[in-house]
């Protein structure tokens, strides 16, 4: 009923604005637009429209009455529907009538009903009323209404019969004939009647317009009724009008708003994202705001809140959700601007943009190491310095988030850019050495541990302090570096990857890594395997340490879950063996063709200079981009066992029974890191993910991306390699010593310009005395 009121008042306000009063009002009252009521005092005629006459239960119309009306060619508003009343202009008749009649048929049920019309009334008020008989839909009628109704209406009709003659109700009341009283039943409830009456009064004022209005008004009034403009605004912005339909729900309004705000909102939001708030006029408190439900009737709500009509100050507030989409780091542009020239461009650049800008401020260094969660935070700094030759002015961007430090820091850079730096130089592999030897000073870790050091363990809950200390003193960076991908390698790799990629998860939650589960207990194996399956991670199993080493040697594994106590060869032995093999094969060292490099080195580093025993040689180096991550699964929670595991070269450990939460975390953390290291693989995977429908496409795309990377990296590599060679050549453990030695060495062999950069890299924290000239890159040291 409130909707009815709202519509009435709305219609009325329109009415007041219009001169085409009568018909507009009539139409407005009937939201369904069923009929028009035109007012034609003089030339009215009765038309016949009988089709719907019979069978209205709401009004007790007798056959006689009907006949009577029919004989008078009346169309009778049988249900007493005021809207149905119509004053017809001569000649307009039948077709219009039928149309409206049929229209009304569909709408009568919902339409307010007006007091019934008596046939007598038609006759008596004769000037010009055509009554149409609408639907025979039974409507509940409260007889009480009728009695109330009559007195209300009668005055107006009697006072101005000429004007109000179109109002059947008035006629009805003015005609006291028995049939008339009989038909005074109406489905209009009292309140509605009042509204109707009220509305009708104004009708009487502008009768003159009606004649023409009959033809012109319907469309316009129709539009006027259905459309309405409401004020909306975004918070703290100016309001605007949005056109809606009368019966629109809030949900529809949202859609209209999006059209209106096509740029600022429409591009990023869908209408369900938007919420509308309405503020009551009197409500001063914020709490008075109310969110509108999508299914609320917009106009009704507005009319309720703003009885006099919504003003611009009452504009609805449009709320939109905060954008969650990560935006590109603001640093990125800076980075490019800075380093475009100073370092080789690689496709990988965009993936680790902030790193170059990371500042190795002493403060950061002192702080971060103490955070157990992010021990390896500085490596990136040193790398950045190395590669850019500049100390970035800003603190590490990664510092803010927990993940960033260990996710990105270590490797990514190495893999992508550092390789470049190293290529072509004989001693490139050896460059790692100084760095790796440094840790020894600061930690009790055995030599065997060093490879692992490079991988900068992600701390497990109980992390041995030792690890942290080590990382403090030694930026693991150099170690970490995965073998740089060069052209030669990439191609074979390509062939390998796609197949594995297809198995990889495409949901993006867990990177496409390959896990080796080493576990002698079938039960545990099954459980772990099932969990890996659930993570959509590829995995293989090994039942003992020896099998683990064998499988690892086949290559392609990123993560090993290593049970410690195993038959034949236990987990620690297997770990040590894997680390040994990685070392002799220079896995995780800046290399391309590391063998050649180490051989040609003048034997300063005995270890590297050694020929690798045939047995120890690993196969396709592409499958060993970086040291594998070994997570020990220890059944005991003894701290000593953990230390032992770390000493053997494990990166991390989990206590059995393995908590799946932790396991998943580890797989993700380490897996993400490995995916970063294996950037090409990651790219391929990503490409594949986007194109997984067409595998052939993928292959071609991959090769394209390769060719785009390879040439550049090769070129750059030649430039940078001298530095690394120099540093590689000397086995000095201390970073400074290494740098010095490198200088010396470099002097012997050729241009020294590169040294400062090298020093910076190995020290990590030491600010560069001066920026290295880029032309150092082109120094003719390659021959050495």
């Amino acid at each position: 009923m409130s909707s009815f009121k709202a519509r009435l008042s709305n219609a009325r306000s329109k009415l007041l604005r219009r001169t085409s009063a009568t018909s507009t009002t009539a139409r407005s009252i009937a939201s369904s637009g069923g009929s028009d009521r035109a007012f034609q005092p003089s030339s009215l005629r009765k038309s016949i429209s009988l089709s719907k006459l019979p069978a209205v239960t709401a009004a007790d119309v007798s056959d006689d009455q009907l006949d009577q009306r029919l004989s008078k060619s009346d169309v009778i508003g049988h249900a007493g529907h005021r809207r149905l009343q119509r004053a017809e202009i001569e000649g307009s008749l039948t077709s219009t009538d039928r149309q409206s009649t049929s229209r009304e048929t569909t709408t009568t049920g919902t339409s307010p009903q007006h007091p019934p019309t008596a046939p007598q009334a038609v006759r008596s008020v004769c000037p010009a009323v055509t009554l149409e008989e609408p639907t025979p839909i039974p409507l509940p009628v409260d007889p009480a209404d009728l009695t109330q109704l009559a007195p209300v209406d009668s005055p107006s009709s009697e006072a101005a019969p000429a004007l109000d003659s179109s109002t059947l109700s008035s006629r009805a009341s003015s005609q006291p004939t028995p049939p008339g009283s009989d038909r005074r039943q109406s489905s209009v409830t009292t309140p509605n009647v009042r509204h109707i009456t009220k509305l009708l009064d104004p009708d009487t004022a502008p009768p003159s317009a009606t004649a023409t209005d009959y033809f012109t008004a319907p469309p316009t009034s129709n539009a006027a009724m259905q459309h309405r403009k409401i004020w909306v605004k975004r918070p703290n912005a100016s309001a605007t009008l949005v056109q809606i339909c009368e019966d629109d729900m809030v949900d529809d309004v949202r859609g209209m708003i999006l059209k209106k705000y096509a740029n600022s909102l429409g591009r990023t939001f869908d209408s369900p994202d938007i919420t509308l708030r309405i503020c009551p006029r009197d409500g001063t408190a914020k709490s008075a705001d109310r969110l509108l439900d999508p299914e609320e009737d917009m106009c009704r709500t507005l009319d309720t809140y703003y009885p006099g009509g919504q003003t611009v100050n009452d504009a609805l507030l449009i709320d939109v959700p905060q954008r969650r989409t990560p935006k590109p780091s603001p640093r990125v542009p800076v980075y490019y601007a800075h380093h475009d020239e100073s370092r080789p461009l690689e496709t990988a650049t965009e993936y680790f943009p902030p790193m170059a800008v990371v500042s190795p401020s002493p403060a950061a260094l002192t702080v971060i190491p103490h955070e157990s969660r992010m021990p390896p935070a500085h490596p990136p700094h040193s790398i950045a310095v190395l590669q850019t030759g500049q100390l970035p002015p800003l603190p590490s961007p990664g510092g803010g988030t927990r993940r960033a430090p260990h996710g990105r820091p270590k490797y990514p850079r190495h893999i992508t850019t550092s390789p470049t730096t190293l290529t072509n130089v004989a001693g490139s592999a050896a460059s790692i050495r100084p760095a790796s030897s440094r840790p020894r000073h600061d930690s009790t870790a055995s030599d065997t541990k060093h490879p692992a050091t490079g991988n900068a363990p992600i701390p497990t809950p109980p992390i041995p302090p030792e690890t942290i200390a080590r990382q403090n003193s030694t930026p693991p960076t150099p170690r970490v570096a995965s073998p740089r991908p060069d052209k030669v390698r990439k191609k074979p790799r390509k062939a390998v990857e796609p197949t594995s990629l297809q198995i990889g998860p495409l949901d993006g939650s867990v990177p496409p890594i390959n896990v080796l589960i080493v576990e002698d207990n079938v039960i545990n194996l099954r459980v772990l395997g099932a969990f890996m399956q659930r993570l959509k991670v590829r995995w293989q199993r090994a039942m003992n340490g020896k099998e683990a080493v064998t499988k690892w040697r086949a290559g392609g594994f990123h993560l090993v879950l290593m049970d410690i106590q195993l038959p034949i060869m236990n987990g620690l032995e297997a770990t040590k063996e894997i680390r040994r093999l990685e070392r002799v094969n220079n896995i995780g060292v800046f290399t391309s063709g590391s063998h050649e490099a180490s051989k040609t080195l003048p034997g300063e580093d005995g270890q590297l200079g050694n020929q690798i025993a045939e047995d120890d040689k690993l196969g396709d180096k592409n499958l060993f981009k970086s040291p594998v991550i070994i997570v020990a699964l220890t059944a005991s929670s003894l701290q000593s066992d953990r230390h032992e595991a770390l000493a053997a070269g494990c990166n991390d450990f989990l206590t059995k029974p393995v908590s799946f939460v932790w396991l998943e975390r580890k797989v993700k953390e380490w897996g993400c890191m490995q995916a970063l290291i294996d950037f090409d693989g990651w790219r391929k995977w990503k490409d594949f993910a986007t194109k997984n429908d067409a595998s052939s496409d993928t292959a071609s795309k991959l090769s394209t991306s390769y060719s785009s990377i390879a040439p550049r990296s090769g070129k750059a590599g030649s430039g940078h390699s001298p530095t690394l060679t120099a540093s590689a050549a000397n086995g000095v453990a201390d970073a400074n010593a290494a740098a010095n030695a490198a200088t010396v060495k470099a002097k012997d062999e050729g241009p020294v310009v590169v040294v400062p950069r090298n020093k910076r890299r190995s020290v990590g924290i030491v600010p560069p005395p001066a920026l290295v000239e880029e032309d150092s890159v082109s120094t003719p040291e390659l021959g050495s």
Binding site: N521, V522, I523, N524, R526, V527, K656, P657, S659, F660
Partner: protein
Amino acid sequence: MAIPGASDKLDAATFEQILEMDEDEEEREFSKSIVYDFFGQAESTFDKMDSSVKDLKTLSELGHFLKGSSATLGLTKVKDSCEKIQHYGQKKDETGTKDITEEEGLEKLKTTIEQAKTEFHDVEKVLKKFYNDEA
């Protein structure tokens, strides 16, 4: 997931994470097969223990072996006993810290293995009931 009568025999959290891997909570196909595999594994391990009564090293390994899977399933009591077996087999005391003599070890092993069996059978009943009920 309340498992009747399992409170002291079963580590709820651990066992539940196995149950969570079941795709169908009615069938419980995965966890059920794991658990029943474990029953078989435990029986065969106990048999091996019985047949190598004098071999401390083997007993220790067997103890460790069964410890791993019982821990994975959250069968705490069995796991604890197996850990003791492992330690005794290494001629250590039950916490694995102090050395004991071989005789002591063998003596303790005997009782501990029996205890482990009893605990296993207890929890086996509970689990079987659980799965029968579930199915």
